[in-house]
């Protein structure tokens, strides 16, 4: 059983847009990642940065940086080394690590669908390390026409999928540790009953709405906060490639 001890959503319509991050240009990808982690830290949700892992996930990655650099190359324009340095998602993680002292496992992953499942799988692997007490999961996407083009190609649909700038993030920890340390537990995720993922290999299908899982999770947290619901919320029941899994969220 995992406990969620902090949650952040940044997105349109913006209440307060993340500010710039020194050394990162052109793209909102890195400022959003930075802002999510900053809010977790400033809320006191991160107990010890040196015992905290971070997983940064994105289906399309920093499409803005990749596209600006590619268009500049084709146009024969001078190439800004800052775009090189920020062209991999590690760079903003290095910036955050320096500022807050994260010295544990920091990983960047990408997926064609189910962000929540991929992230929780990795979190389960990392929690086996006794040095890891908490894990920050951050999913980020940026608005780019190319991403919409690719979405339409892969989803094989005429329904336009509109990309947008957003970041969504939670802090998870083992429930027993969260209780022992007196963390503010927002909800519990039951992943123990999550069926082993199996994939129907008969065809490749794509679901780039995979971040829905994280959206649903943060929305459910808000429901739990505002209401007196005491029953478990079946947070995410999702059919992907022939498989169905569910995550239960309880107060």
């Amino acid at each position: 059983m995992l406990a969620i001890t902090s949650a952040v959503f940044l997105g349109e319509p913006w209440k307060d847009h993340p500010g710039a991050v020194s050394g990162f240009i052109e793209s909102s990808f890195n400022p959003m990642v930075y802002e999510c982690v900053r809010r977790h830290v400033s809320s006191g949700a991160i107990r010890r940065a040196d015992r905290t892992a971070i997983v940064l996930g994105s289906a399309f990655g920093d499409a803005t940086t990749a596209d600006v650099a590619s268009r500049n190359l084709i146009a024969g324009k001078s190439r800004n080394p800052l775009l090189f340095f920020q062209s991999v998602p590690n760079s903003i993680m290095g910036h955050l690590a320096r500022e807050y002292g994260f010295t544990g496992m920091i990983s960047c992953i990408t997926y064609s669908g189910n962000a929540l499942q991929s992230m929780l799988q990795l979190a389960e692997l990392y929690f086996n390390d006794p040095e890891i007490e908490q894990i920050v999961l951050v999913a980020t996407e940026v608005r780019e026409a190319r991403s919409e083009y690719v979405s339409r190609l892969l989803l094989d649909t005429s329904d336009p999928s509109v990309s947008r700038d957003y970041a969504i993030s939670i802090v998870v920890e083992k429930e027993i540790a969260a209780s022992r340390e007196g963390s503010n537990i927002l909800a519990r995720i039951d992943v123990s009953n999550m069926p082993k993922e199996t994939v129907d290999c008969s065809r490749t299908t794509y679901d780039f709405a995979g971040n829905d899982g994280l959206f649903a999770l943060v929305e459910a947290l808000e429901q739990l906060r505002l209401s007196s619901i005491d029953l478990p919320i079946v947070l995410y029941e999702h059919s992907r490639k022939g498989d169905i899994y569910a995550i239960r969220l309880t107060r």
Binding site: G23, A49, G61, A66, D67, A69, S70, L73, I74, A75, R79, N80, P81, L83, F84, F85, S87, V88, P89, N90, S91, M93, G94, H95, A97, R98, Y100, G101, F102, T103, M105, I106, S107, C108, I109, T110, Y111, S112, S118, Q121, L122, E124, L125, N128, D129, E131, R146, Y149, V150, L153, L154, K196, E197, T198, V199, D200, C201, R203, T204, Y206
Partner: protein, 387 residues
């Protein structure tokens, strides 16, 4: 009971071509593969050199071929339904380049752009080879495929799957070349001279490696040929800088410590280190200090070399390719040299096996990788022997 993880399948390509024989006949002999880049017009960049292979296919086709060879080697082609697939790649930048070239002239860019998405590669590989278990795709730059092998190891050790296919790959592309050129990272003399006083920088190279990992006992039961053992791994972050390594190698030393701890090995059991060894002053100095910090006086008694001096930097694929080189070194009891070594750098005072390969009985070797953001991985690979 400790679960041991066997490597029973390997499909590898280096700039010298496919197969472990190409590693044995070139990298273990100290030959480099640098030359003028011909895949695109590199004349407008500060240098034109790279370590290209003769492979003419796409990145995804390279992934397919390495995976196919790994599965053939393991003899498990039809038993992949529950296997995990864990890869470390960047996506194909040629696909991105082609997309924008088409856009620029108002033509339909077609569907090739999907290959720029790393997850498309894992889905396509899983579909083609019917790999039906969980999938993870790491895109954390130069530690991506080491991270992938480490996660695949974790999947097996933690009992989540019985078999995992893992690795990574990369090809020299104009887009990546331009990025490193803008960062003024490239060598000016057409060679990578890691740990050497007269180094001028790094160069890119082609390569990829995919592995089949499974429980040791299961591999023995089915009488599989075990190529090597993954003994343990560790990762740690420098918390120092966006793109420079920690000046004293703190993160890499921590990653080494975690790997040794998980493997329950003392330092003196490590017979050779395949260093990240990019051939930049920052990396070489920091990595040398990390090795000293992690190994103490024993650091001076242990050969350390950079095979990037022969293959170039294979970016997201580098951890996987260097793991394959480590396996070849273990199988042949040969320490690959640091090729192109010219003179001593006062900051780098370990035994870097300059220019000439060395015969040594190898039981355990350590593969180090580092990336932007201060990420570091340490992967311990052992000879395929009963312990």
């Amino acid at each position: 009971m400790t679960i041991r993880v066997a490597v029973t399948g390997m499909g590898v390509m280096t700039p010298f071509g496919f197969g472990v024989e190409a590693i044995r006949d070139n990298i273990l002999c100290g030959r480099h593969r640098f030359g003028v880049t011909t895949r695109f017009d590199a004349s407008r960049f500060r240098t034109a050199y790279s370590a290209q292979s003769e492979f003419a296919g796409s990145m995804l086709e390279l992934g397919f071929r390495c995976t196919e060879e790994a599965l053939d080697c393991a003899g498990l082609q039809d038993q992949m339904q529950n296997a995990a697939l864990v890869i470390g790649i960047s996506g194909d930048y040629n696909a991105l380049n082609a997309y924008w070239k088409h856009q620029q002239i108002g033509r339909d860019p077609g569907s090739g752009i999907v290959e720029f998405l790393p997850a498309y590669h894992s889905d396509a590989i899983a579909t083609r080879f019917r790999i039906g278990g969980p999938r993870l795709v790491f895109n954390n730059a130069c530690v991506a495929s080491s991270n992938a092998i480490g996660a695949a190891y974790d999947y097996i050790v933690q009992g989540k799957v019985d078999v995992a296919v893992c690795g990574g790959y990369s090809l020299v592309s104009e887009e990546m070349y331009a990025k490193f050129d803008s960062g003024m990272a490239f060598s000016s003399d057409g060679r990578v001279r890691s740990f050497s006083g007269k180094r001028t920088g790094m160069l890119l190279g082609d390569g990829g490696a995919m592995f089949v990992l499974e429980k040791w006992e299961a591999a023995i039961r089915r009488k599989a040929t075990i190529l090597a053992e993954i003994i343990g791994w560790g990762a740690a972050c420098d918390a120092y800088h966006v793109c420079q390594p920690h000046p004293e190698g703190a993160g890499m030393a921590a990653a080494i410590g975690r790997a040794l701890q998980r493997a329950e090995l003392v330092q003196s059991r490590v017979d050779y280190i395949n260093a990240h060894g990019t051939g930049t002053l920052h990396n070489d100095k920091s990595e040398t200090l990390a090795i000293k910090r992690a190994f103490g006086d024993y650091a001076y008694d242990m050969p350390v070399s950079s095979t990037k001096t022969m293959t170039g930097h294979i970016l997201e694929g580098t951890g996987a390719v260097e793991t394959a080189i480590c396996i070849a070194a273990l199988q042949n009891n040969i320490v690959p040299p640091t090729a192109g070594y010219l003179d001593k750098d006062p900051h780098c005072d370990l035994d870097y096996v300059p220019n000439v390969p060395r015969s040594k009985d190898l039981s355990v070797v350590l593969n180090l990788n580092a990336s932007f953001g201060g990420n570091n991985t340490a992967l311990l690979v052992g000879k395929a022997i009963e312990r």
